[in-house]
Symmetry: C2
Subunit: 216 residues, 2 copies
């Protein structure tokens, strides 16, 4: 892998764990195995490095959009497909959630724009699809679609970060906090959305989960 990519990867990892201002260019350079001026040859300032790390992250997110669109329009198992995409995105790299949360905390005004651009269209699309489901009686009529979707995304981000820290409280039966919180997260998201508790889960083998009523 070329040094530029190594720098981006290392910076993302360190930023997610110690925060942008908690990591020095020196530390990143050492970790990559080059000197600080060499790092500054690839990224002319620390601020540029931050922007590139963030734009890589949004790039990975953009990669998922086709899957999301397919899930929205499929008609069957929509819910499971969307939740699979959402949880997979953060589970396959929890640092994504950490970086996003840190950026929201550090620069809320800047993130408002990025979030509106990257999330707004999909939220609107999913919300419109949900309104159809409400008219057909499949979904509870008192759901606020946009707020529901944003809360789901927020919960998914909280999930990944919380799991690293609540292990002593929630661990039992040999299951990790991560998987126990995820199961409950998905159960609650489903249960609070559908009118009929059995609806929306037919088809789709899904990631090892059965109908929400099974086991436990």
């Amino acid at each position: 892998m070329d040094n530029r990519s190594k720098i981006l990867e290392t910076a993302a990892r360190l930023f997610s764990r110690q925060g942008f201002s908690g990591v020095s260019l020196q530390t990143i350079a050492e970790d990559v195995g080059i000197t600080k001026p060499s790092l500054l040859y690839h990224f002319p300032s620390k601020e540029t490095l931050r922007e590139q790390v963030l734009s890589e992250l949004f790039g990975h997110w953009a990669t998922r959009i086709p899957n999301l669109l397919r899930a929205v329009t499929t008609g069957e198992g929509q819910f499971e497909a969307l939740m699979d995409e959402l949880t997979a995105f953060f589970r396959e790299d929890p640092d994504r959630a950490r970086i996003l949360i840190r950026e929201i905390l550090d620069r809320p005004e800047a993130m408002r724009a990025s979030i509106a651009a990257s999330l707004g269209p999909i939220v609107t699309l999913v919300a419109d699809s949900m309104r159809k489901g409400q008219r057909s009686g499949l979904l509870r009529e008192n759901v606020d679609p946009e707020a529901y979707v944003l809360n789901a995304i927020g919960s998914a981000m909280a999930w990944v970060v919380a799991a690293s820290v609540v292990e002593p409280i929630v661990t039992g039966g040999g299951k990790s906090a991560l998987s126990r919180l995820e199961r409950e997260l998905r159960r609650a998201a489903h249960s609070s959305l559908f009118s009929d508790p059995e609806a929306g889960v037919e088809r789709r083998p899904s990631s090892g989960r059965a109908r929400p009523n099974a086991e436990r």
Copy 2:
């Protein structure tokens, strides 16, 4: 107010917005109106200041525990009372959520212990009370009580932070993102918990909310 308290207040505000490593002692001292060595007279190191800010926060949380216990044992309107306490805690000072999240991100191992101590007993208590409700048929039997409570707390923290950044997506009908996300958060939490959609909401005037089916 004495300078010590002013320092704690200022540090909490700045830490929440820029992070611990993003704020210098100089900046805090200037904001309070004293010099840096004077600040270091009250708090012998920056690390000490961090600990004191955090311990103040946990102190405020401890203040609520009697209310929480009363809510758990009251038997009627338990759900609304607990949700009122939870949302009020973060709404009356959103910086609390920001500081807690930052600490979890910055020092997960240290926070694991603090969280187990401050949250563990209450989570267990509420979870036990929920298991009773499950046996009586009031609550859905497929809920994972501990995970439910922790997800609710995580969602509440995500709520406050997300609201500052999703305004353009979720605003409509003159309602702020904060209140629209809160309403949906509470609706979903209720709906995913109770077997009967109307249960658990009798009594209690509550904070301006009606039964979940009303309006909208």
